[in-house]
Symmetry: C2
Subunit: 167 residues, 2 copies
């Protein structure tokens, strides 16, 4: 992006920029998840992260579909927000010795990632509808529903067993 130009002129430009932002974010998440899988001890948490990695690959394919539907080539722009969230995940988990406490921290980190995705996909769905692209909105809504379901599963896992073991 230009330092001396205003590259985003319309809501459509902003929609495409945000697609590029979350496309970058999803790709960074596929790199972060294998490390989280390796660190997790609780079998259900580990298998949940593995399933989410597969789901994330599907969400990337879905984003590529939306780019194409909207006449755009899939492209990523650096997203400092997800970089910060992943940096914090690595820093905090590096400070924890106890495995049960680490599981609790990994769930909290994963939920921070999910909430970033929930807010971005929620915005993208609203903007797509406003731009008359109900077709793109419908595809993005599928991912939004998956992210919300993942967040709820993580809450149940934390409150059902992981936090109790960590305490």
């Amino acid at each position: 992006m230009g330092l001396f130009t205003k590259d985003i002129q319309t809501l459509d430009d902003l929609f495409v920029h945000t697609l590029q932002d979350i496309y970058y974010a999803e790709n960074q998440i596929t790199k972060a998840l294998p490390k989280m899988i390796a660190k997790a001890t609780d079998p259900e948490l580990k298998s949940g992260f593995e399933a989410h990695l597969t789901e994330t690959e599907g969400q990337i394919a879905r984003l590529e579909t939306v780019f194409e539907m909207h006449g755009q080539t899939p492209k990523a722009v650096t997203c400092p927000a997800i970089d910060g969230i992943i940096k914090e995940t690595n820093e905090v988990s590096g400070e924890i010795g106890d495995k049960t406490v680490l599981d609790a921290a990994l769930i909290a980190s994963a939920q921070a990632v999910e909430h970033y995705e929930i807010t971005r996909y929620g915005t993208l769905v609203a903007w797509a509808k406003q731009l008359g692209r109900d077709d793109c909105a419908a595809v993005l809504q599928q991912t939004l529903d998956e992210e919300r379901a993942t967040d709820e599963r993580l809450t149940r896992l934390a409150e059902g067993q992981v936090n109790r073991r960590a305490a």
Copy 2:
């Protein structure tokens, strides 16, 4: 924090660390909001940000209460996640020339901030309860409820008027 030691040993340590993280985040938000107020054009968005600044100051005071209830001195630890979210807010808004499009982007950025707070306060409430600190959980729950209400207000403002004007 030590580079060669594991400073977080227990769920209680992790709870305190996360309090310090969100204490830093809330303080950074009070620095970011005046810039967002200055950039906003829609009067309801501008006054909403102003009200949220006052609310954030109350949330900082509430965190200081929780630190004290838990026998801790209020302290902030750098939170790369909120730093990244705020950096992205500044970068994107710097790329936008049109004021109505900028308002739509500011709402999206504010909702990314809210979702970060929702996930952290949600986690803190769950951990406080697990640690037998229902008193701390009750105070943190008040802020969680405020953040959720702010997020819903921003959605209504976006879908009710700001996105339509930006399109």
